[in-house]
């Protein structure tokens, strides 16, 4: 069923939005814009078991490692291989541009993010990430305790955030306007509890919550938080303050695309506790770029150089051994005899098939694709990826001829609308110090529906004009004049955008086992952590690369 514009507004923004917009029959739409998204056609063919054309003999290449997917995980794996002197790899990326959910766009004025837009300064233990940032010229020096000192221009410029509440912008994220003493007392108690968790260490002196989560404790007391939702956890502590609940709910929607009722308390607490260096410290400062994390993607992609191949959809991965056994394969290939893989792919530009014979594969795409792409995956591993649930996101880049006029707390990097289901917007020109004239706002909306699949289908059916109207109806609340300022509005529909850490998933067997290699197929994607974060994708990329390197080096 396709929704009408009115229904779409109600679904995405809630009924009150209709009143503020007046929802006129023919709303004023932006003069230009496009509807963007992941390559749906390819995705659907993969899902429906399409019979792809087979490459001819001259369309085959031999390569040590094929990395499937040029998102953060895949590019990080490539970076790691190169760092270890392995140049014999390719990265195959379906889209014409690398980066996956961390990709960015660009107009004459400025680059802007299409997905991930910030990275907190890593804690001293995250050596690999600090190394990457150092290579990018972001780290000026390293403090005695190993903390990186980040160049001022990469740290989010003040004012970093504001929230629109009761008709006014105020500094920060907590909706402090009209907060009672009890509200503030609960906020303080909540912070204290978070401090407790940031100080917690197990016998092996591992943190309770750490990013990447691989370094966190497996203590049952801590893991038991995964049994309940974040909202339940708050209530269990007697915290009922609507302001506190809003803050936590907002944070869950922002990081996980889920409400506090839907988010595992383990993931919810992790968001707050893992990024405190020590109890009482501020949340680690954020690094950001006009392109968001697209800047890091750009760096990683430039390192991979021509080994990164875009516009190449991997359609099937099959083991040569099994095919040899079936007699499908003649014994004439240079790497015959070894365990090897055939990675079949499709060049979306030339519409030609292409094949790679590889010793090892790094599977850096979401898990749900494993049964679809890897021959005999479910039979061999007993894994079907069914518990991996992904939420959809709607992201818009709104180009303005000038900034809206306003009088309360000034335009910040992150601008949150309290009474909205959207997350508000970040300002692409903020970090470059550009404070006047035209700008681009990147507006975010996670679809938190319980039924992720139904929501995804509705989103993918919606028209550009209706989605643009949703975006503007939301922005009109704080900025009544917005429609007259828009020069262009592009909308990106992310279907499988983010893994959902619902209660039980983090501690599930399926998730924990998903990192196990299948032969020489090694898995790397942020979804393996159950949460979608740069650091997780990066960490899995490095781990998978290390595994691949180890499996390629003959054991003495």
């Amino acid at each position: 069923m396709t929704l009408t514009r009115r229904e779409l507004i109600v679904t995405l923004l809630g009924a009150p939005a209709l009143f503020t917009s007046g929802c006129s029959a023919s709303p004023r739409l932006p003069p230009a814009g496009e509807l963007l998204g992941q390559s749906l056609e390819i995705g659907h063919r993969l899902r429906d078991g399409f019979r792809w054309p087979q490459p001819n003999a001259d369309q085959w290449q031999d390569v040590g490692v094929v990395i499937v997917g040029g998102g953060v995980a895949g590019l990080s794996a490539a970076w790691r291989l190169q760092q270890n002197g392995c140049e014999d790899f390719v990265v195959l990326e379906l889209e014409s541009q690398p980066g996956g959910t961390s990709r960015s766009g660009r107009c004459e004025l400025t680059p802007y993010p299409w997905g991930a837009h910030y990275l907190p300064v890593p804690l001293p233990h995250n050596h690999d990430l600090i190394r990457l940032l150092n290579e990018m010229g972001v780290v000026e020096s390293v403090a005695e305790d190993g903390s990186p000192i980040i160049g001022e221009q990469f740290l989010c410029r003040d004012p970093d955030e504001r929230v629109f509440v009761d008709g006014e912008w105020i500094e920060g994220l907590y909706p402090a306007t009209g907060a009672s003493e009890d509200d503030l007392a609960q906020l303080a108690a909540f912070r204290k509890e978070i401090d407790h968790w940031s100080a917690w260490r197990d016998a092996a002196s591992r943190r309770a919550f750490s990013i990447p989560i691989r370094h966190a404790t497996d203590d049952p007391e801590v893991l038991s938080l995964d049994k309940q939702s974040m909202a339940e956890w708050l209530r269990q502590h007697g915290w009922t303050s609507p302001r506190l609940h809003w803050l936590v709910d907002y944070s869950c929607r922002d990081d996980y695309g889920l409400t506090a009722e839907q988010t595992s308390a383990w993931a919810g607490v992790l968001y707050f506790a893992a990024r405190l260096k020590e109890p009482g410290a501020d949340h680690q400062p954020l690094m950001t770029w006009p392109a968001g994390n697209g800047r890091i993607v750009e760096h990683l992609a430039s390192q991979a150089e021509t080994r990164l191949k875009t516009g190449i959809a991997v359609t099937r991965i099959q083991s040569r051994q099994s095919r040899q056994r079936l007699g499908e394969l003649r014994n004439d290939s240079p790497i015959s005899g070894e365990i090897g893989y055939e990675v079949l792919a499709f060049n979306t530009a030339s519409e030609q098939p292409i094949g790679f014979r590889a010793k090892s594969v790094i599977f850096a795409v979401p898990q749900f694709l494993a049964p679809r792409l890897i021959d005999g995956f479910a039979e061999r591993t007993g894994r079907n990826a069914e518990q991996f649930e992904y939420g959809s996101w709607l992201v818009a880049n709104v180009h303005l001829s000038r900034r809206p006029r306003e009088s309360s707390f000034p335009l910040s990097w992150d601008n949150v609308i309290h009474d909205s289901r959207s997350l508000g917007y970040v300002v692409a020109t903020h970090q470059s110090g550009n404070d006047h004239g035209p700008t681009v706002l990147t507006w975010y909306h996670p679809l938190c529906d319980d039924n992720a699949k139904a929501a995804r289908q509705q989103l993918l059916k919606a028209k550009w004009s209706d989605l643009a109207d949703v975006v503007l109806t939301d922005l009109e609340r704080p900025h009544p004049e917005i429609r007259s300022l828009v020069t262009r509005l592009d909308v990106f529909r992310w279907g499988h955008a983010m893994i959902r850490p619902r209660p039980g998933f983090i501690t599930s067997r399926q998730r924990r086992e998903a990192t196990q290699p299948d032969g020489r197929i090694h898995f790397a994607n942020t979804d393996l952590s159950g949460i979608a974060l740069f650091e997780e994708a990066f960490d899995h990329g490095l781990r998978a690369a290390d595994e691949a390197l180890a499996s390629l080096t003959p054991n003495p």
Binding site: G137, E152, Q153, L155, C156, R157, D158, P159, D160, P285, R402, P410, S432, G433, N434, D435, H436, G437
Partner: protein, 532 residues
């Protein structure tokens, strides 16, 4: 006769009210003209007596002209009323516009005063003749004159007590015009029996047109200057405009004029020389033969005026965000006079851009990669040997970034190794933490600093920093011997005394201002906020 019946006592009383309004408005126009003339031209005694003289003589001229009107008296009365409404109503706005050229201003001023006087002088005799058939002569004269003089009293009280402080000159003028026009329209009904039907609707149409024009004027005036603005600034606004970047307002009194940006005083023409000499000469006199000077902010051209007094200066690059500011002298001639049209000097290049973006262009880690560019693009920027930094006070985040370590570090890349800069940094007396925060930020960006101060009466005790990029600053300064023209504030002795900070300006603890903390904006807000 029908007309006899309808001119009964009630409308007669209303006609006296007419007289009262006409008289009040007439006097208000006169007072407006006098006030404006003395604001803009100074010398209020001369201006007022000239305006009064011209006005009174014009009244006589009008009375004399009235004898040539012998037909259609009522109609003529209303036409005159509408003319007063239009000319009187538009008088203040027109005079403000004419102010951009002082020569034309006098012609327009006296022309308007004379025209209004003549028209008002026409009105009373016409009215008296209209009424003479309905009243006996003694009664008529006594009543009309009573209301006339009462109106004058009324106006002379209202003008200083309500109009100027509450409405401002432009709105007062437009409102009086509106009142006149409404009286005119109303007259077409009151005097209906004396008016022929022919052309009546045309007359009413014209009245409505005048009313409409004046209402549009009032709406426009609101967008030009807000009531609150005039109220806050406390002085008449002689020029106001909103650019995409800021609100520029110039006010004037008999002593001089003031520039406000977003309501903050930038200078007063009376003592700006103290500020600008203190800002410019310590830096330029510390550099041996300054050649290439960078000015950041300072779009009024007053700092550049001082810089151009050094014959060694070959080029001045001025970066100011707002083209409305750097071209203000074109629209406000007194500023051109004050700055000696410095921005028009051939040595000066104006760049309208956010200084943060301009200074940061091709600076930073990526600059080394630029070598693949074409033959000209990879030439290094020619560096500046002196920089004068004259930004507004750091009251907002978008200005605060211009006082950050990142900014100063980028700036250093644009300076020669021996370069000296000076920075205006708000009042060290009112805002000590803000002041010392800027000093500390410069220090931690690698500059050698010497803090100094100067007394600028309209600002108070003002703070600056002299800084050099690598070599330490000289302990003793002397004004360059080549300086063209006399200084009004600085001598060698005074120049050196600026660096003696009294105990009440002693250093206080402050953090370094960085882009990601913007502590300076917070200090500034607290310290100046506490003043209000």
């Amino acid at each position: 006769m029908q007309s006899e019946d309808s001119m009964n006592r009630a409308p007669l009383f209303l006609l006296y009210l007419n007289v009262l309004i006409i008289a009040s408005c007439g006097l208000v126009y006169e007072l407006l003209a006098g006030t404006l003339a003395s604001y803009l031209l100074g010398d209020s005694v001369t201006q007022f007596s000239l305006v009064i003289g011209i006005y009174l003589s014009a009244l006589g001229a009008g009375a004399w002209v009235s004898r040539f009107v012998d037909q259609r008296l009522a109609r003529c009365f209303i036409e005159v009323e509408l003319a007063v409404a239009l000319i009187g109503g538009a008088s203040a706005p027109v005079l403000f516009l004419a102010f951009s050229s002082v020569g034309a201003f006098r012609v327009v001023l006296y022309g308007i005063v004379f025209a209004i006087g003549t028209l008002v002088g026409l009105e009373l005799p016409l009215l008296m003749r209209l009424l003479k058939d309905h009243l006996d002569f003694e009664d008529l004269v006594s009543r009309v004159l009573t209301f006339d003089y009462l109106g004058a009293l009324f106006a002379s009280l209202l003008f200083p007590m309500f109009c100027v402080p509450r409405l401002g000159l432009v709105r007062t003028s437009l409102l009086c015009g509106l009142l006149n026009a409404v009286v005119g329209l109303w007259g077409t009904y009151l005097l209906r029996p004396l008016l022929s039907s022919r052309g009546l609707s045309g007359l009413r149409g014209r009245a409505c047109l005048v009313i409409g024009l004046l209402i549009v004027g009032i709406i426009k005036a609101d967008s030009l200057t807000t009531l609150a603005e005039e109220h806050v600034l406390g002085e008449p606004i002689v020029h106001a405009e909103s650019t995409p970047y800021q609100r520029i307002v110039l006010t004037r009194n008999t002593r001089g004029f003031q520039l406000f940006l977003n309501g903050h005083l930038q200078f007063n023409s009376v003592d700006e020389h103290r500020y600008h000499e203190a800002l410019v000469h310590p830096a330029l006199s510390s550099v041996k033969s300054p050649r290439r000077v960078l000015v950041l902010g300072g779009g009024d051209g007053l700092a550049v005026r001082e810089i151009l007094r050094y014959p060694s200066v070959e080029s001045v690059t001025l970066v100011d965000l707002d083209p409305g500011m750097t071209s203000l002298a074109d629209r406000f001639p007194p500023l051109a006079e004050l700055s000696r049209s410095s921005l028009k000097d051939r040595r000066v290049t104006i760049i309208n851009e956010d200084a943060f973006l301009w200074v940061g262009r091709d600076v930073g880690p990526s600059s080394s990669k630029a070598s693949t560019a074409g033959p000209f693009e990879n030439l290094p920027h020619e560096k500046f040997d002196t920089a004068i930094i004259d930004f507004p006070d750091p009251g907002t985040f978008s200005v605060g970034k211009l006082y950050s370590t990142r900014f100063y570090r980028m700036l250093r890349e644009r300076l020669t190794a021996e370069a000296v800069i000076s920075v205006q940094c708000t009042s060290p007396l009112v805002a000590p933490q803000s002041y010392w925060c800027i000093v500390k930020t410069l220090e931690s960006s690698g500059f050698h600093v010497r803090p100094y101060h100067a007394a600028v009466p309209t600002f108070g005790e003002w703070g600056f920093v002299l800084a050099s990029s690598s070599s330490p600053l000289p302990v003793k300064l002397s004004l360059s011997s080549e300086l063209i023209g006399p200084s009004r504030f600085l001598t060698d002795n005074i120049l050196n005394s600026l660096f003696d900070l009294p105990p009440d300006l002693a250093r206080v603890e402050a953090e370094v201002n960085q882009l990601n903390n913007q502590v300076l904006v917070h200090y500034y807000d607290q310290e100046w906020g506490a003043m209000k």
